[in-house]
Amino acid sequence: MALEDLQHNFLTGPLEDIVRWARRASVWPASFGLACCAIEMMATGGADFDIARYGMEVFRNSPRQADLMIVAGRVSQKMAPVLRQVYDQMMEPKWVISMGVCASTGGLFNNYAIVQGVDQIVPVDVYAPGCPPSPETLMHAILTLHEQIRTGEIMKRRHEGRPVHLDGTPELWTPEVPVAVRVGTPK
């Protein structure tokens, strides 16, 4: 008998709210800074925009202690398996913010070297637009993520199913994540 098998009912309702509130209030980002967006992420962590007020006081460097991976910058084909490896090594529950258009859709660089969208490698929760997104945009993305955590599912592995209806039939919203395809593209 594990918590997973507990049916969501009246008794466990308030407990789950407490768990969700606790998770939402202290999400620690893993500093996965890649390119220009990483500089804006640093500026967001700086004194002027200060995401410490949302409980993100510290950027954990090891994935073991991080809850949120902000993919800040363009993901190259060589970096894709490393990104997937760090994502796998993060502890549950974990979330992913794809910061910037390069991470979300390949952005300006529609070519052989950039993975066109990091959701080909890791399931993404929130996409922050902008090149680079200004700190306000990143904070808006973080607040939407907090909203998702507050109303989201607490025990289910993230890519196993999006909103679990009470009658228990999970919708599979993302295809199982394909491995990053590393192949040259001769004309």
């Binding site: 220009c36 500026a43 398996p81 490393v82 660089f109």
Partner: protein, 450 residues
Amino acid sequence: MSEPIVRAAERLDILSAETSEGAQELQRRTATHVDELSREVGAVLRLDGLTLDPTSIDMDRRDDETMIINMGPSHPSTHGVLRLMLELDGEFVLRTKPVIGYLHTGMEKTGEELSYVQGATNVTRMDYLSPVINELCYSMAVEKLLDIEVPERAVWIRMLMSELNRISSHLVWMATNGMDLGASSMMIYGLRERELILAFFEKTAGLRLNLNYVRPGGVAADLPDGWQDDVLVICDTIFARTFEYDELLTGQPIFRNRMIGVAPLAAEEALALGVTGPLLRSTGVAWDLRRAMPYLAYDQVEFDVIVGTFGDNFDRYAIRLNEIRESIRIVRQCIDLMPSGDYRSQDPKVTPPPRARIGESMEALIHHFKLFTEGFQVPPGEVYTAVESPRGELGCYIVSDGTAKPYRLHVRAPSFVNLQAVSLLMRGGSMSDTITVISTIDPVMGEVDR
């Protein structure tokens, strides 16, 4: 699209095959060529008088005594996605090999598909700590090919913006260098000052970073009115704060022990490796492109070139700290000597007609439309221009074949060449010295991997 393959996260050998880079990695000593081995040990200069005697590398160091580890792509203090492979004997670093390419964006290929008008947006994302200076180098190359004249005011605006960008880049360096050495309050101060400059950039060019402001033919927009007092506020606050940083860092015993006498570089070694910028000046070679081969209006402003003597980490720190003050001096002179006039060359080939006239005349509309969709033709030829970026000589080599797109766009990135000196600087260092060496080389991975 091939149907998605489930990532076999269950098999460790598949995982290690995925992230391994084979021949690019640091191999065991028995498997490396002697030239490569001497390069990794970090003393490989063939120049007469500095040749390395191969006997000095103990080849028979048994492989099971040492440990090869990755200071890999996702590491807090590698300033981006640099992967440094180290062969360690306990705490001492025997061999170092940088493995790069984790941020390769194919920018030179993308540069060949964008027209000259769009090219600046691609180039500005290479060295994301000093975007204005990238655009400046690219625009000067295109202008040299077209041989058009940039009006006087545009020249001075470009100089003002690139010096402000140099200050903001050095401030980020001070912040991250302090953070790497444990002075995390330096991170907060460095980024706080930088926000002043970014606010001015946002006011002038509309963007904090990657601002597509310097374009072939001049600058995108004139300075906002009342810019003098904004810039004066920036200069006064940052100039006063540099003495605070001096107080905060220079006297600290930990900072001094980790910086003084660590990773010395000799002048001949630096020249042989093609190292430029603060790294070269720290060895005593007084080479600053703004002084040696002046471009823009650097010969009309008064500033000092800062040169170190010992060529170690502390000198590089002192050079960058004083270069912030020199740049502030230049910015003050720019405020006083800023000429008036139009901010963009009136040559119709390069500059679109002003918005007002588009409403009235049909030709202006066609000209505007053609310029932005097709871009302007550049006569065939090739050119190489170089500017002094905060990290060294930033060069832009363009080959044009007469069409509206550059045939070949190559950017000479200073960090790419300086980074190759890391195995030389790590000679006989300890594991903790790696952090300070990477930090004082100040590589920006976007520029290294292009």
